[in-house]
């Protein structure tokens, strides 16, 4: 049976063909006033009249009776079923869809979005429950803890223990403490995601793009040669999700524009004169500081890490650097100079930061926030902050060192004044 939106489809097709109502009505052998009622979904069309209208419009009659309207009604029915609202007037669903097509489309889109999100939640939940890496790491940690607990209790509570047994248990304790440290580090690395860039299925689009760049060694030097852009876009086209392909294409466009504004040769010259100072490089070449930071981080052989975030603190770009853990989920350490810069646009902030963990490392962190006015004075200012991370061996010249972490959840600094939530690791790790 034709649904209520058949009239809308007939009207759209007629207008697309440039026909008047009177012309179509005459071709279908009905009156213009009757066609008007049909087009406004106030009369249902029988199969015979629908067939004649379809013939006059040059389409199959099924395309008028089953198109998007059918899918729309299915989504509306699904929305009712999902909400479990018995009071919804299901018998008047045709009427609702035809009288308020815009609202009906909004409701249908919301239903589709809810269904999609439910699938994502189910996938993530399943992943958390069955992830073999997570399960193996937890098992390793818990097994080691069990052994340490039992063995340590034996040693602590047994005064008359045989020297051979005592030596054996000491050896076991040492062995288990090593396993425990390794297991905990594996767990932290997993939660941090630094070695999970190839995860598929639930991976975020940004992770996909960064995994692609990681496979390329964070190099896009082709952009300075003919055909380089096409080659990179060809690789981007192979990314798994449409969102990642869009993000990848946007990255290539920006990287190319910045490679043209600050070519590698000019960058090397500026670095030779001014050293690793993105503000000086930017000033010398006439580009923005964030552009200079990106070019420095993506230059061949660069050891620099780079984080760029928007005004909400959400990461837009992450190039990791060994020893400085960039969180994959949730908010990062609020003590990063990146966030201090965010609050003070165009004020450069440089600090020597020390990472947390068993092998703390020092980095020179240079951060700056830039503001844009894409809609002029009438619109909001959009802020982007960047933080370039350069490994340093020693705190230069007795500079103050700022202790920082990755994110609270995996940071062992229990006494940190900026702590938001308890950590799952301790100083011992």
């Amino acid at each position: 049976m034709p649904n209520a939106l058949t009239g809308t489809l007939i009207r759209e097709r007629r207008l697309a063909l440039g026909l008047r109502q009177a012309d179509l009505a005459q071709a279908a052998g009905i009156s213009a006033s009757y066609l008007n009622l049909i087009e406004h979904n106030r009369r249902r069309t029988g199969a015979e009249v629908l067939g004649r209208l379809a013939q006059a419009l040059g389409v199959e009659s099924t395309s008028l009776s089953e198109g998007a309207g059918g899918a729309l009604l299915d989504d509306l029915r699904a929305a009712v079923a999902a909400a479990q609202v018995a009071s919804a007037e299901l018998d008047r669903i045709d009427d609702f869809a035809s009288r308020f097509p815009g609202w009906a489309a909004v409701l249908a889109a919301t239903q589709q979005r809810a269904a999609h999100l439910e699938r994502v939640v189910a996938t993530l939940n399943d992943r958390l429950a069955h992830d073999p890496h997570l399960s193996a790491s937890l098992h390793e940690v818990l097994s080691s803890v069990s052994s340490v607990r039992s063995t340590a209790a034996i040693l602590a509570e047994s005064e008359d223990i045989d020297p051979d047994w005592r030596a054996r248990f000491h050896h076991n304790l040492h062995e288990d403490s090593e396993r425990l440290a390794a297991g905990a580090e594996a767990l932290v690395a997993y939660l941090d995601g630094s070695d999970n860039a190839d995860l598929q299925g639930t991976i975020a689009p940004q992770d996909e793009v960064e995994a692609w760049l990681s496979r390329r060694g964070w190099q896009v030097t082709e952009l300075e040669s003919p055909g380089g852009r096409e080659r990179l876009l060809g690789e981007v086209a192979d990314l798994a999700s449409a969102a990642a392909r869009d993000l990848g294409a946007a990255f290539v466009a920006q990287a190319q524009a910045e490679a043209m504004a600050l070519p590698l040769a000019a960058l090397e010259t500026a670095l030779g004169v001014y050293g690793d100072d993105p503000a000086m490089v930017a000033q010398a070449v006439g580009v923005s500081v964030l552009t200079a930071m990106r070019r420095m981080a993506l230059r061949p052989g660069s050891r620099a890490g780079l984080v760029i975030c928007d005004a909400s603190g959400t990461f837009l770009f992450r190039k990791p650097v060994d020893g400085f853990s960039l969180p994959r989920f949730g908010a990062a350490c609020p003590l990063w100079p990146l966030f201090a810069a965010l609050a003070r646009p165009m004020t450069p902030i440089v600090q020597i930061v020390e990472t947390a963990g068993r092998a703390p490392m020092l980095f020179r962190a240079m951060a700056l926030c830039e503001a844009r006015l894409p809609a002029g004075f009438a619109g909001s200012d959009l802020r982007e902050a960047g933080m370039l991370l350069l490994p340093v061996d020693l705190s230069p010249g007795g500079a103050t060192v700022t202790p920082v972490g990755s994110s609270c959840r995996i940071c062992p600094r229990t006494a940190c004044p900026a702590r938001r939530e308890p950590s799952i690791v301790s100083d011992a790790v």
Binding site: S147, R149, T151
Partner: protein
């Protein structure tokens, strides 16, 4: 003297358990995987079996099911150890007929008390 069969693939854990139970007067036999354990239980008739859930090859749950499938061993006390304390493992072990469930990490006193209870209840 209670005879205990301990099936645990982590050597340092089994060594610690063997030590504390032996000191309490138990005769502890240790196996590091589940293969052949059902036959061993059938022939040796220990007073208690302590089974790790995650064993290489034949899992602790499979061993438990094999033991319970033999009517002659239906009442044999079996304590299950696992590093995974989630509800699903516990439910599966309970459905398979486990006598007691102990989640790692456990204290030595918990272990000794559980063994004492299970052996005395026979």
């Amino acid at each position: 003297m209670a005879r205990v069969l301990l099936v645990e693939d982590e050597p340092n854990i089994s060594e610690a358990i063997r030590f504390i139970l032996s000191r309490d007067g138990c005769d502890v036999t240790v196996r590091s995987d589940g293969a052949g354990v059902v036959d061993l239980v059938r022939s040796d008739r220990p007073d208690l079996v302590i089974l790790d859930l995650m064993l290489p090859g034949v899992s602790g749950l499979e061993v438990l099911s094999g033991i319970r499938a033999d009517p002659a061993m239906a009442d044999l006390p079996v304590m299950m150890l696992t590093a995974k304390g989630n509800g699903r493992d516990r439910e599966a072990a309970e459905r398979a007929g486990v006598s007691r469930f102990m989640t790692k990490p456990f204290s030595n006193d918990e272990m000794r008390a559980a063994v004492r209870d299970l052996v005395q209840a026979r």
